[in-house]
Symmetry: C2
Subunit: 274 residues, 2 copies
């Protein structure tokens, strides 16, 4: 059957995508602001993959906030033209969203429900004052806890979450945490990162952190800034097929990395007394 | 005489200032856009140093374009309250302009005319492909040349300029040129930087560059981006007295350097295949 002929059945397809969060008001669709979901919808419509958003049933494995990046986010939608989707979608997306892998999935597939676990990395803006203490504090998050003090808990949501792994990585000029869990609450990883910074700076004790992890808190933790947070990995059992990256994606990152490197240097040399 | 009593005479004062060019539409006053001159005027008025701009006779040692930074720019204005100017101006300026030194000057002082030479640094976004060739090309700019091919020459301006020194500095992960001259044309250093990049990449020969320096060019050079350019030093004979830097200036640069460092890293790790 020719692809141009309208097919009567819909195929559900999944993509593993990445994006730079800087210029998005988060992943989730908003009528007036630029969002990852809004851009993907438009790209799908431009590529003729669906015309009606409801028919397309575009879904994400999870929300990311304004300014948060993704190295690996899973999306799914339904289209009569799965091959065209794989071929045409990458080129229709704006440069700050890119495709990493593709697969066809059962019609019942939901990226939110069918993903086993999500891994985030949070890159700290500054090196921790006490790395050993930060590592000790990180261990307290392991297992099942009440995250009421470390999240914006939406009404009706269970504040109990389970952290499978959490590690503090420290390199010469860089520190990050990597956290894996089946699911998270809103702002959770950024609040965890902020709490770890407070412990490392001596503003919060391990004992206080333990109490907060039972859900009892007078002061909630303020989330760390979003630009250090990356949705890093999604664990699922799909038969992903890699999609070759576009040249423009390499160029975007290489140019932006060089620009930021330059501005970091400009600020260092403009600082008084240098 | 009490300072609050209106003095009948005006004193001309000079300041050595620095600024981050990123959020300014250049140094020179524009009625609608944010400029360095506009902010300094406002700060002087807030500090009560003058009320009428004409009376203040605010002057700069030279213009910088939109996005260009200054480590050392010289400004001068007239006020009945020179002591108050030295004490109050630094705190009245926005965080992206800072004061480095102060002195009282003769009433006839003009920072444009009385400055002996100006030094710029241009930091390249990328390491040169052929550093040795770039260094050789840089030497060709030394002395007196016609910069018609390397500038936006305003009507009636002499395109002949003299470069006193030019050096290419290469460090492990960073390359810049430092140029000193009594005066420059519009876009001149950025065009010189762009030409050096073209030579280093094999897109322009030394012979072609030599011809262009006689003023004969079919294609003008496109200026390199402004964010790598810094007005670095001003040579004059004024008896400068240092003004202690404000804490917020250190903080601005430290925070921004950390943010840019982080985003450079985010881009590197988000690049496909890593």
């Amino acid at each position: 059957m020719a692809e141009t002929e309208r097919q009567n059945y819909q195929v559900r397809v999944a993509f593993r995508i990445g994006y730079l969060g800087t210029s998005f008001f988060g992943s989730q669709f908003q009528p007036r602001d630029r969002t990852v979901e809004g851009e993907i919808r438009q790209a799908c419509i431009r590529a003729g993959l669906f015309t009606d958003t409801r028919e397309g049933r575009l879904a994400f494995s999870g929300r990311t906030d304004r300014g948060v990046h993704a190295r690996c986010q899973v999306i799914a939608f339904s289209t009569p033209y799965p091959d065209r989707a794989r071929r045409a979608l990458p080129g229709q997306l704006p440069p700050d969203i890119w495709v990493d892998a593709f697969c066809e999935v059962p019609d019942s597939y939901s990226p939110r429900r069918d993903v086993i676990s999500r891994t985030y990395r949070f890159y700290f803006h500054e090196m921790p004052e006490n790395p050993a203490l930060m590592k000790e504090a990180a261990k307290l998050f392991l297992g099942k806890h009440d995250y009421s003090c470390f999240a914006r808990v939406e009404p009706g949501k269970d504040p109990i979450r389970s952290i499978t792994t959490i590690n503090v990585h420290i390199e010469e000029d860089c520190c990050w945490i990597e956290v894996t869990a089946p699911s998270y609450l809103w702002h959770m990883v950024r609040c965890m990162a902020a709490a770890l910074t407070r412990v490392s700076s001596g503003l919060l004790t391990l004992e206080e952190l333990e109490v907060m992890l039972t859900g009892r808190c007078s002061n909630k933790v303020k989330p760390a800034p979003p630009d250090g947070l990356i949705l890093w990995e999604i664990t699922d059992q799909l038969p992903w097929r890699p999609v070759p990256p576009l040249k423009r994606t390499f160029k975007l990152h290489a140019d932006a990395a060089a620009d930021h490197q330059l501005m970091a240097r400009v600020h260092r040399i403009l600082s008084p007394g240098l």
